[in-house]
Structure formats: C-alpha cells, structure tokens
Symmetry: C2
Subunit: 388 residues, 2 copies
C-alpha cells in the first residue's frame, strides 16, 4: 500500500456569504491551485467532495460533478460526494486516502463544502432536523443545540462542570480565530460576553455554539513518491479511525461518555504507531463548548469529568499539554458542515508549514483531527505527520 | 493489496411503496443477512450507503448512521453515504472495495437506497432538477427525460435509429423483469404497447423511460481469504473504472458519443485483465431506451450508430453476442437512484450462483456493470468475476 500525503491546501472566506455553493468551491479550489503552483489541472484524476445538506440548502444534488466542472477538472479515476452530516468532509478525505493508497488514484482533490445561509433562514433551521433522526427526534424539536444542552446539563450534574469552564473554551478558540482571516468570527470575546450572550438552549448561550456558516476548504493528496516533488513539506496521513453506535438518544449508553470516540482515537493512533502524547496539536470538534470539554476526556488528556479543569488550567492552550483548535475551532471559524473536517486538516498542514500567524503558531510533527456527528454517536479521527 | 469479493446479496421489493427510507433499507438488509446465514452482525465493520436524494425526498440527511442503526450494526472502520446521482450506489461499492483492499475493513456492507415516491409527487418531480445542474439547466425545465429525448432525436438524425429499435430495448428488458419478483414492473410489454404508450418527451414514450421507484439493494464484501469461508461462490471485483467531464449540456462534446464511458470501460477492463468479449453478461444503465442503444456502441459491441441494429438482431438478448440487463434493467425494475448500481451487482452475483429463474439464466464467469449520471457526462464501471 502506498503512503498518502497532503501536498496542498486552499481556503475561502467563511461567513454569511452571498456566494453560491459552486462559487464557494471555486474560491477554495483557486486557493488550492495557487498553493500547488504549476500543477496542471488535468493531472488531478480524482475528486471527493464532502457536503451534508446541499439538496436542501442549495437545492442541488450531484454535487461532485458540478464542483469538478467549476474547478475545470475532469476526474478519470474516482469521483463522488460523501455525506456523513458533520463528518462529511473528513469522510471525503478518507475516501481519497484509500483511492491513493490502493493506486486507483495518483492525485486527488478533497473539497469540503457547505452553503448554509439561505434567503429564508427558517428553511436552514428546519433542515438541521435532518442531520439527526428526523422521524423520531427532529419532528420533536431535537436539533443539535437542545441535544448538546442536555449533554452539558448532564456533565454539570455528574462532574460539577461549570458554565465558566465552558465559556473558557469559547474565549480560547475565539482568541485563535481572531488571527484567522478565513474565520467567520475573527474577533476575541471576553468571558463576560460569552456568559451574557443570549441563551440558546440552557445552559448553552449563543457563544457556546458554533455558527451557521457558508464555507469551503480543499486539500490535495498524492502518494509518497510524488509528494516530495510537489512540496518541501508533505504531511502524511498516518492514521484513520471511525466508530459509530446507534443514533437515537434513547439508544445511547450515556450522554457524557463517548466510547465510539475512544475507539476511533485508539484505532487511528494505533495505525499511526503513535500515542496521544506524541501529538503536537489537535483539531477537535467544538460544535459546542461542552463538546471540546468531553473530547479532552475521551482523548485521555484529562480524567473523566475533569475536562473543565483541563481548560481552566490552560492545558489546551499554546504552552499547555496539547494546543487545541489553533485555527479557532468551529466556535471561532463557524461550522459549514461539510467543510469543517477538511479545514481542520488545512490548519494542521499550515501549522507544519509555518504558514499561520505567529500568535497561534505551534508547528511540530504530529497532529490529530477529530469530528463527530449526530448525537455524538459517530466519531472520526485522522492522524497526520509532517514529512521532510 | 487484498482481493475483494461479494459474498452475499439482498433485495427488497421495488415499486411504489408505503415503506419509509429506513424500512426499505431494513428489508434489503434482512434479505442480505438471510443470504449469509450465521454471520454475526458485529462482524460487519463498515457500512457504505449509496443514496442520491434522501434530503429532499425523505427529509433525511445523515443517512448512513440511520441505516446502521436500523440494521443493528455498529461500524467501527468505515461509515459514510456516497452521492453521485444515479451512480450513488456504485460509488458506495467502490468505497467499500477500497476499504477492504487497503485492509481498513474486513467485512463491509453496501446498501443502495432510494425513497422516491412521496405524498406530493410534484416534490419528487421538482427534486429531479437537482440531479442535473439546477441553476443553469434545472430551472429551465431540463430534467432527465427532455435531455435524453434530445439525445434520442440526435441519434435518430445522425444514424437513422428508429423508435421501433428503441422500443425493442423496452420489450427485451420487460421480458426479463417479468421473471423478477423484485421488479417494479414484472410484466411483459409488446412493441405495440411501447410505441403507443403516452408521449413523455418526443420521441420518448412512457415505456421508453425507467420508473420512479422506491427500493433498496445490498451486497456484502470481504477480502479474498475470508470470502471462501463465507460462500462457495465468491464473486471478485476485478476492475473499476470512472470518468467524468463537464456536466452542462453546452459543454458536452457530443450528445450521442460518450467518450467518458469508453474511458471508464477501458480502464475497468484493463484493471481486470479482460476484454469486453470475455464478458458473459452485462448490466447497463438503461434509464431510457436510447441509453442502452448508445451503450452497445460505447462498449464496442456495435459500431458507432449501429446500436439500433444490435438490438434488432437480438445481439443483446440471451443467445446473442452479450446478454444485457437480464434482471430487467432500469426499464423493467424501476430506478431508485441509489439502489440501481447495487442491484446490478446483485444480479450478476445471483446469475453466477444460479439463483435466478431459468428463463433469464445466463451464468458464466465474467460480468460488467455500468452506470451513468447527469447529462451522461459521468460513467462508472465495475467488472466482476466468479471465483471458485
């Protein structure tokens, strides 16, 4: 099996955009082709597009061929869109990884993409019911904010986690996004402001929640031999993990323990031949502040129930045990569902290439990216390593 | 790289069903688990679901985890839905193939699935605009029937193809579907009936068009070593091909020549180390009668423009040059977008296992499956070989 490396990255501006789905893809695609200067488009033989809700929010299925046409590429090996709600983008990366590892593809473009802001935002809100089980939960008003509010309430009840600790996640991630020109929210926020932002679903306030964001992100993958011809700093995909259990809230073993995350992390690290302590930075799925706190625990960085303490001690900040979400996370960058997982990989690669502002520069050799979806029943993990 | 084999198949009844998306998946899943009797569900480590339009027609994204929950499986290796309009199901098969070939997965379930009939069928019709380019073509009324009507008109103009020749495709495929209890249209039709069925978009009549069908199909894949423990007749995936060009009608080089199909066929056969003349049967994408006629030509079975003659001579029937669409094709079985590509593979496997009625039994060793999508700009091919 061939080694697989990320050799290029591209981002467009994230936010409430007037751009269409295809235009968002074009921006990130242009940035990518600028990054891998001189690559003829006809050498890109595969395209995998991660996108969760295009049929509802852009009235468009058949997303991958339209992105191909927009980018001016004609895939001759592998072409598809992947959908796995908030893990859609990472799924596209995994498919592209496999295409190159098997030799079916030599150069694959991975595009994460979502157009979420629509002229009628009630359409967007209603559509969010269909990234959970719409028949059983969505119709009862269960979308992500009330679900994660229950998770937060339960974590507070079981472990004494506080709203202040949750707010610290938002403050940290916004401090990072303030230096990220692609972020939806490139502005610092104070503890006071997070705690006094409007209540969305108690105990979650507005600034505990990631935004409804339009955006795209792209990476280019190739095999080990070709990678070094295309960049001085190939970043290898060393580990992949994925695990899911039943999605219905009633079927979950626990709200505050995510065994499928532990499984996905364990498998990805094992495949990479590394431990969590080898990591230099991590991009975690902070769809809500409470998510990041539980993720510290499931990564094994903090004991169960001590995730709140972990942020309080600054352990997830630069200089702490493991810097987390240096691009600004979903809280600071916004969360265009299909784009998020790809943008996390972009951040790790740009960190390793020292392409990020000094205020959030970490660098290093190992990075881990994590996404979750649905009722946190499904988790995906990618482990990356800087080559030379 | 590991060899990959199909070791089990499952189908539900196709048609206008009152079943929900999840219930359709459950039926095909049950049939699959019955076929691989004794397989503990926890051994299925991956699930790939091909589905094109669930967000619009079932108001449900996050399709793969919901199918997993419905089937009682908890994937620990690979989980995603693939979307590529009418090639969605075949795309899922390809992803599962790669997962097993790389060793990331040991046993993967592939589910093709579509719920197309809705209480308000105008919603279904409108949604069909989003499997083409909705912004540029869908809004102008360009959905599949008018597009393929233009293709048919042009083929008639350029090569003298007749409506009678097109009708013969429908007659043949309905003769096969008449023996297929899972088909939406299990009934023979006469030439006269096809030619006098209501006009949909001239020259295409109703019986020149595949139906709007609810349905699901499933196959189980594993690696070469495990395959022989699970079945006496593993069917190996030997070749994969895929090629796409720009989707807009205005950007297509030709309406009647499909160079991306030739490319996909060539690549899949090359990978398999076979030629089209080695094939014992083929499942082609007869979304409209004219499609199958052009496909004869692009497969190299007939000279360009002589596809009409090919069906007239009975060369695509049992006893002819290459029996095509023995399950009844899209014309006879209906076309639940995501399910079609998987059901084609089911047919080839069941043929090799002599699990089909004698009236349509061909058997043999080699089979080819083909799907197209959009404005026939994208084609995917899978080549299968019976193992022993």
């Amino acid at each position: 099996m061939r080694k697989v490396a990320v050799v290029g990255t591209g981002l467009g501006k994230w936010g409430v955009r007037s751009a269409t789905l295809k235009e968002l893809a074009q921006e990130a695609g242009k940035a990518l082709f600028d990054d891998v200067e001189g690559l003829p488009r006809e050498e890109v033989d595969s395209l995998l597009v991660g996108c969760a809700l295009a049929e509802r929010l852009a009235f468009q299925s058949y997303v991958a061929p339209l992105v191909a046409e927009q980018l001016g590429i004609n895939p001759t090996r592998m072409l598809a869109r992947t959908e796995l709600a908030c893990v859609s983008g990472q799924s596209a990366l995994k498919m592209a990884y496999m295409a190159i590892a098997t030799g079916l593809s030599d150069i694959a473009l991975v595009m994460g993409l979502e157009k979420m802001n629509t002229p009628d935002m009630s359409e967007t809100q209603t559509s969010m019911a269909c990234v959970l089980d719409r028949e059983w939960e969505g119709v009862n008003g269960m979308t992500a904010p009330p679900y994660f509010a229950m998770v937060a309430q339960r974590h507070m009840h079981e472990y004494g986690t506080t709203q202040e600790q949750m707010a610290m996640v938002s403050v940290k991630n916004h401090r990072f996004s303030a230096t990220n020109p692609y972020a939806h929210f490139p502005k610092e926020v104070s503890m006071n402001r997070v705690l006094n932002s409007p209540s969305i679903s108690p105990p979650l306030n507005l600034l505990d929640c990631s935004g409804i964001t339009d955006g795209a992100a792209a990476v280019l993958l190739t095999h080990g031999d070709a990678a070094k011809e295309m960049t001085d700093t190939p970043v290898f995909i060393e580990g992949l993990g994925q695990a899911a259990t039943g999605n219905l809230t009633a079927n979950l073993p626990s709200l505050t323990s995510w065994p499928t995350m532990r499984r996905a992390v364990r498998d990805a690290l094992k495949m990479a031949g590394a431990t969590i302590h080898d990591m230099d930075l991590a991009e975690l799925h902070d769809c809500f502040t409470i998510s990041e706190i539980i993720e510290y625990e499931e990564l094994g960085l903090a004991e169960k129930g001590k995730g709140g303490r972990f942020i309080e001690e600054g352990q997830s900040d630069i200089g702490g045990k493991l810097p987390i979400n240096t691009r600004g996370g979903l809280l600071g960058c916004g969360h265009p569902l299909g784009a998020t997982g790809v943008a996390q990989v972009v951040e790790v690669v740009q960190q390793f290439k020292a392409q990020v502002p000094s205020q959030r520069y970490v660098g290093g050799e190992w990075g881990l990216c994590h996404n979750l979806s649905g009722n946190a029943n499904n988790h995906g993990v990618v482990v990356l390593r800087r080559g030379s």
